[in-house]
């Protein structure tokens, strides 16, 4: 039983780590993401539009399978997790080999390796009567050639051999694991965000503060500090297209103002891992200030008095008379002796005020409407006439709030991936070996071999220059002068 469990596990592991499984999984991801872009998606598309686009049965099917919100369904996340596991399994399975290759470089090539290496050359070392050690002399020449090309060399001395090894950018062998690790880091951040991240909306008018974020599903979420809006506005280009939306925000934590920032589109406010973005801007349809000129009805010649009214505010016009603003209708329509609001857009506004005059023992209230509403208003009996001057309506700023704790993993992953890809594509691991061997005639020959893990054409050229340089260094006059210099240096 235990054995069969083990073999089953091994089977699963093998399947998971095979490149074909990876390819099949990725094809599935591609198919479902493509489906997610073609099928209308739930939160973005209105319910009405969905019903218009699909038949009820179709919609029920799509909803049941989650195809109307592909990217947030459990099975899609599960698929992404499966892809991550496949990447991990494939990397883990291949890593030990690569690591061995990386940690214990093959420095001293044996004969069978030398036979099959595709890029190799043999250079005869000319016998030199001055020195009897041809092998030493050959390796010295090779060392100078490597140095000339900017490569470091290493003398490898084994019990029965004696050779030269040189390499460059061994890290390149590990690059693909860096890329895979970065991808996993990105996935990790993504999964953290889909589990613990949230997005909401906060609507503020200037002068107000709030710590209640409205979530997508309509629920409210309380955050541990509040955001106060100190002002908001828009700027437009001469042709009327929007140029800039801005909001002055302040963070208020435990009654204390922590920081202030003017945010614009593309430049959010960040506090305690929460980000506040300028998302929308508009008019609330509510009245902020109404500015009027009031003139006593019985004394039209007197200078009008300018008053400013907010909603439900009462202002005294003289010791006996006061006016109160009781209603503001942004877009009015009169029907059957009643005033109705048609929309929230300020296109056709009306205001309702009550003018109260103290008489000896009682007070008289008069309904005043601006503009006058025949049959409804009592403007004629009002002790004052009003002339509207200005209407200041409320504006609001819409802030998108997001909490994405995993995004740092994502950015770290992106940076790591950029590094990894640079190594994968542009850094070549080159290895060279030089081994002195005996040819059939008994003379010394330098066997030179090399390999590169990518970009073989460029490598072949480099190898050719190296061989030419070694040949040059091996010419008798070169050897003589070089040895002479070495001798003088040693003699000094």
């Amino acid at each position: 039983m235990a054995l069969s469990l083990r073999s089953a596990l091994r089977k699963i592991w093998q399947t998971l780590s095979s490149i074909k499984t990876g390819v099949v999984l990725i094809i599935l991801v591609v198919i479902f993401s493509a489906a997610g872009t073609v099928i209308l998606q739930r939160p973005m598309t209105d319910a009405d539009d969905m019903e218009r686009a699909y038949s009820p049965a179709m919609l029920r099917f799509l909803d049941a399978t989650g195809l109307t919100d592909v990217f947030h369904t459990r099975w899609f996340v599960a698929l992404l997790i499966l892809v991550s596991f496949s990447i991990i399994a494939a990397s883990v399975q291949r890593f030990p080999n690569a690591w061995r290759f990386f940690a214990r470089p093959y420095k001293s090539p044996d004969e069978s390796f030398r036979k099959v290496l595709p890029t190799q050359a043999q250079i005869a070392v000319p016998g030199n009567p001055l020195f009897d050690n041809d092998e030493e002399q050959g390796l010295n020449a090779a060392e100078r050639a490597f140095k000339h090309l900017g490569l470091k060399t290493e003398r490898i001395v084994r019990t029965n051999s004696f050779s030269l090894f040189s390499e460059r950018s061994r890290i390149s062998e590990m690059a693909v694991y860096i890329v895979h690790a970065s991808l996993l880091l990105i996935f990790l951040g993504f999964i953290v965000d889909s589990l613990y991240g949230w997005r909401g909306f906060l609507m503020l008018s200037p002068g107000t503060a709030s710590n209640q974020i409205e979530m997508k599903n309509g629920s409210l979420r309380t955050i541990p500090f509040s955001i106060r809006c100190d002002g908001t506005g828009e700027e437009t280009y001469a042709d009327g297209t929007p140029k800039k939306y801005w909001s002055k925000l302040a963070v208020v934590d435990a009654g204390r103002e922590i920081s202030r920032k003017e945010i614009v589109v593309n430049d959010p406010l960040v506090y305690q891992g929460l980000r506040f973005y300028q998302a929308s801007y508009g008019r609330t349809g509510k009245l902020d200030q109404l500015i009027l000129d009031a003139t006593p009805t019985n004394n039209v010649a007197s200078t009008p008095q300018e008053i400013s009214l907010a909603m439900n505010q009462t202002v005294a016009l003289d010791p006996d008379t006061s006016v109160q603003l009781v209603d503001f209708i942004p877009d009015f329509v009169v029907q059957d002796g009643q005033v109705y609001a048609r929309s929230k857009d300020i296109v056709n506004p009306a205001v309702h005020m009550i003018v109260t005059s103290k008489k000896v023992n009682s007070s008289v209230s008069v309904n005043v409407w601006l503009p006058p509403m025949p049959g409804i208003d009592e403007n004629a009996s009002s002790p004052y006439t009003f002339d509207p001057k200005d209407l200041k309506t409320g504006v609001y700023t819409g802030l998108q709030v997001s909490h994405e704790p995993g995004q740092f993993a994502v950015w770290a992953g992106v940076v790591l991936m950029a590094i990894g890809l640079t190594f994968v594509f542009y850094v070549v691991h080159m290895r060279f070996w030089v081994v002195p061997v005996r040819d059939a005639q008994g003379g010394t020959v330098l066997w030179v071999g090399g390999t590169a893990n990518r970009n073989r054409d460029a490598f072949e050229l480099k190898f050719k220059t190296l061989v030419e340089q070694i040949q040059k260094e091996l010419k008798p006059e070169f050897v003589a002068t070089a040895q002479g210099q070495a001798a003088t240096i040693a003699g000094r």
């Binding site: 490149i19 297209t241 140029k243």
Partner: protein, 512 residues
């Protein structure tokens, strides 16, 4: 061999150069008169005109080279390309200076940058890698690009708040470079298939399927009684007309739908003729599939999941059995080739009618009362699709008539295979960085680094396809045909991401 060929054509060589030279001298003289009249030499229009003249000259010479193989053309052609690139650079600089931002903000500006990149890449491919014939393909594209620019609204438009970010330029520059790299790898993969002795008729199938796809997509906008729906254009505001947020108003151009249907039939004809000529193979394949469908599914399972060697060899045996089956008649293929020629003429007709009808006149709409105008700027994708179809078919004719010359001029198959891979090695990191820059920007502008917007999703799919190519090549040693097919698939996805998503799947990337 090459030398002998050149010596056969010295006369035509000089003739073409002289003709192109005279034509350009005439155009430049006309332009000079115009400049003298307006008194402003360095206006963008003039720079673009100069660009067009030089590119047209270069394109003619490159085409001459592609058709006759006269090497001396190349020297003059690249000289012209240099001159055109210079004028193009000046136009880009002028635009940049005037707009105050790099020219990536509208379709017009994108085309300006795209044409510049194309010309620069042509020169690089020619000088650095010796792919001389590439200009035959790229310069006509550049010419079409410059002509399209004349039709699009070119005034500098201010940037809306969401686009006011340095990341716009980073993101778009990277996208341009990455997509240009993908396009280059596609062209190289096609050349590889030519050099790999792929049959000419297979290219016929490929170009026909492509053109049929284009007209099928255009006919999605077919309206009852033969009209064609296009987006309405508000000439005063230079913008598309919207009914409500994100919903464009479509107007119906009468009778244009019938014409498109006719051209659809014309471009489908070569494909049908091909299928008829190969009916024995197709019949055989269908019979096999119906008889052995359950088995075939099992094969797939065994082959892909269990990696069963036996099933794989069976599939190979099947291919061996079908592939050498004799064709019914090759004469039908010759008819199909003629049908391609006729379809090109009809396509040009369709394009001409489209241009005329769209530029002039007011049309009714099904969704709103009254008559509305439309403009080429409102239908850039139909326009590029029509031009692209003509271009693909012309390339097929070039291959059909001049295959031996092309084979002589192109680098050998191995080199092309390697360069294709190298191009993707450059394009893939750029693609990665493009997505990363886009994500970072989205994080600043929209509040989240990933929104599953269609464009984003398709960019990720593109990335996955190229990642698949690299894995197959590096770990499985895919070379040659399979790698070339993969590179072509990758570019098809790129094209869908660039055009298809904008045209068919609306989302947050509304401005590009």
């Amino acid at each position: 061999m090459a030398r002998a060929k050149v010596e056969q054509h010295p006369a035509t060589g000089t003739t073409l150069i002289v003709m192109v030279g005279l034509g350009m001298a005439f155009l430049l003289f006309m332009a000079f008169l115009n400049v003298v009249k307006s008194g402003n030499i360095l206006s963008e229009a003039n720079l673009l005109f100069a660009t067009l003249v030089f590119y047209a000259g270069a394109g003619a010479l490159y085409l001459g080279f592609g058709v006759t193989g006269t090497d001396s053309y190349i020297k003059y052609a690249s000289l012209m390309t240099w001159a055109g690139l210079l004028a193009n650079s000046a136009a880009v600089a002028h635009r940049w200076y005037e707009a105050g931002h790099p020219p990536f903000a509208s379709i017009y500006e994108m085309l300006l940058s795209f044409v510049w990149t194309l010309a620069a890449l042509t020169l690089i491919a020619e000088k650095r890698y010796g792919v001389k014939v590439i200009g035959t393909v790229t310069m006509p594209v550049a010419i079409v690009g410059v002509i399209l620019m004349q039709l699009l609204p070119s005034e500098v438009r201010p940037l809306v708040p969401a686009l006011q970010s340095t990341w716009l330029h980073v993101h778009v520059t990277l996208a341009m470079l990455a997509y240009a790299g993908c396009a280059l790898s596609f062209a190289l993969a096609m050349m590889y298939l030519i050099q790999d002795k792929m049959k000419t008729e297979t290219f016929l199938v490929a170009t026909s399927v492509f053109t049929v796809g284009i007209y099928a997509a255009v006919l999605l906008r077919f309206e009852k009684w033969g009209g064609l729906n296009v987006v309405a254009w508000d000439a005063q505001n230079k913008a598309e007309v919207f009914i409500s947020r994100g919903v464009r108003l479509f107007v119906t151009i009468p009778d244009l739908g019938w014409l498109m249907l006719l051209v659809f039939a014309a471009v489908a004809a070569p494909l049908l003729l091909y299928m008829v000529s190969r009916r024995r193979k197709i019949q055989w394949g269908i019979a096999y599939a119906t008889r052995r469908l359950p088995d075939a599914l099992k094969n797939l399972w065994h082959w892909v999941i269990l990696r069963d060697k036996e099933y794989r060899s069976e599939a190979a045996a099947l291919w061996k059995a079908v592939n050498p089956l004799p064709s019914n008649s090759d004469s039908l293929i010759a008819v199909a080739d003629r049908a391609v020629f006729i379809s090109i003429l009809l396509q040009i007709l369709a394009l001409a009618f489209f241009l005329v009808r769209v530029r002039g006149g007011q049309y009714p709409s099904l969704d709103a009362d009254g008559l509305y105008a439309t403009s080429l700027a409102a239908s850039p994708f139909i326009l590029s699709a029509l031009v692209g179809g003509i271009f693909a078919n012309l390339l097929y004719l070039l291959l059909l008539w001049r295959r031996t010359d092309l084979e002589r001029l192109l680098p050998d198959a191995d080199t092309l295979d390697r360069i294709t891979y190298k191009t993707i090695c450059i394009a893939f990191p750029l693609l990665t960085l493009m997505i990363a820059a886009g994500a970072y920007w989205a994080n600043r502008a929209w509040g989240s680094y990933w929104n599953w917007d269609p464009k984003e999703t398709w960019a990720a799919i593109t990335w996955l396809v190229y990642a698949g190519y690299l894995h197959m090549r590096i770990t499985r040693g895919w070379r040659g045909r399979r790698a070339a097919y993969f590179a072509i698939l990758g570019f098809a996805v790129v094209m869908f991401t660039f055009f298809g998503v904008t045209y068919l799947l609306p989302g947050l990337h509304a401005y590009a």
